[in-house]
């Protein structure tokens, strides 16, 4: 089977002009993500796991390599080269990202924040709200919070809103950055069963987990990242 996403020789280095430094983040990453399967990214802090996800979502511009995304029609797009408009269309229809932190518009209720990706795609507000409520219930977000903006929520509550928002649009490729980091065991079990459901639906997942237990329960493939070499003489280049 052709992978949903194939990453070839991906590298990301940050060039900091002010300090005339180049900081390597990930080097020469090669991995594949398949429909209905979860690929887990593991490795110590600083190994560049989040950078890989951000490159795929194009919040970071990759320094080198290809990221070949194959849509349902079999059309392949190199996310490293795609235009901004192509990336925006893919984000709307195909690729979702659940980060560790909830970035959302202030002053919008948790339910509206959750439903936003569906509404952006043209689903009616009523239908989107029904699905949003189903997910929030499933993730055990208390009903009294649904109408409140998430700014004042606890870390775990925010994370559940973030997850619901990532899952609601049923992307074809879902990027997850520690989706259960601040959840209690009961909610974590719910998240695991939700993720298993969306795998069944044919969603391809690329996820960062810290707990080995989660990896063993959910991952079909595991990819270990090692921190790039950080010897100062090797990596610090002076910019003219």
């Amino acid at each position: 089977m052709e992978p949903r996403l194939r990453i070839e020789n991906l590298s990301k280095r940050f060039v900091l002009h002010e300090q005339a430094k180049t900081i390597p983040s990930c080097e020469d990453v090669n991995l594949s993500v398949y429909t209905g399967k979860l690929t887990a990214l593991v490795g110590p802090t600083g190994a560049g796991k989040s950078s890989v996800l951000k490159c795929v979502y194009r919040s970071y511009l990759p320094t080198a390599g290809r990221m070949l995304y194959r849509n349902d029609l079999g059309t392949v797009t190199d996310l490293a080269q795609a235009s901004d408009h192509e990336v925006l269309t893919l984000r709307r229809n195909d690729i979702g990202f659940v980060t560790q932190f909830l970035h959302c518009l202030p002053r919008k209720s948790a339910l509206d924040v959750t439903c936003e990706p569906l509404i952006a795609r043209g689903t009616s507000a009523h239908e989107a709200h029904e699905e949003g409520k189903r997910l929030l219930r499933c993730l055990k977000v208390p009903e009294r919070l649904w109408g409140v903006p998430p700014a004042t929520f606890s870390g775990g509550e925010k994370q559940r809103i973030n997850l619901a928002r990532g899952l609601i649009a049923r992307p074809r490729l879902l990027l997850l950055d520690e989706p259960t980091a601040s959840l209690d065991p009961g909610t974590t079990d719910n998240v695991i069963s939700l993720l298993q459901d969306i795998k069944q639906d044919g969603v391809a997942l690329l996820a960062i987990f810290h707990h080995p237990e989660l990896v063993s329960r959910l991952a079909d493939n595991v990819f270990e990242l090692t921190p790039p070499l950080t010897t100062p003489n090797l990596q610090e280049t002076t910019l003219s």
Binding site: E18, Y60, L61, D84, H85, L88, L105, R107
Partner: protein, 276 residues
Amino acid sequence: MKKILEVRGLTKIYGSGCPRCISATGPAHDTNVCPHCGTVVAAHDVAFDLHEGEILGIMGESGSGKSTVVKTLFFDDKPSSGSARFHDGEQVQELFDLNPAEQRWLRNHKFGMVYQNPNLGLNFNVSAGGNIAERLLMNDLRHYGDIRDRARQLLARTEVLSNRMDESPKRFSGGMQQRVQIAKALATRPPLLFLDEVTTGLDLSVQARILDLILEIQQELNTAMIVVTHDLGVIRLLAGRTLVMKYGRVIEAGLTDQILEDPQHAYTQRLVASAL
């Protein structure tokens, strides 16, 4: 998504100009004033595409040329060179080749502008409702009752109390004046809206509500917008893509989250680092 606007090579200079103006100005020279002839290169070789319903941010400090770009597109100012193609359904129009009457027609029917300074966008000698009526009249709405109803609806939509529609906007607060400007700009449901520093100078809670209103309108009417601002928060909240300008040049363009999280240009890096 369909393109609504294609801008290429847009340049605006103030002054006589000399052959060395372009090579002697820009971010590399830390100036937009030509040292040889004193000409101001306000914007040079600006290019971008805008799609239907999309919000594009143009970010930069004072004098970066960001307002110059929207002023030329809204025909407030004539560009020195460059082209801008506006797609109106099946029709494609070269904005800078149109005669003044055609330009006025587009301004009144297809474009909207909200200025930082309400003095520029509103006529303080007539009432708030009258300001909107003016634009409706230019759109061939003639019946007094219809015009008044539509003006009332628009003001209600932008949360201006309708019992104040007969007052001059001179007597309104800054936030309310901006709302009247937005209502006026939206009167013709234009597919393209320009917003030039619309929240600058307003207090935070008023800013927030104006920004909410802009987003709601974009979702309701699928209006394409160009938002000019020096405020990173406004960019983050509104724009899907962003251009960064300095000394008349576009130095960086990309997805807004990428510009903020992984800026490439030294200037943008400094800007983002000092704001977050």
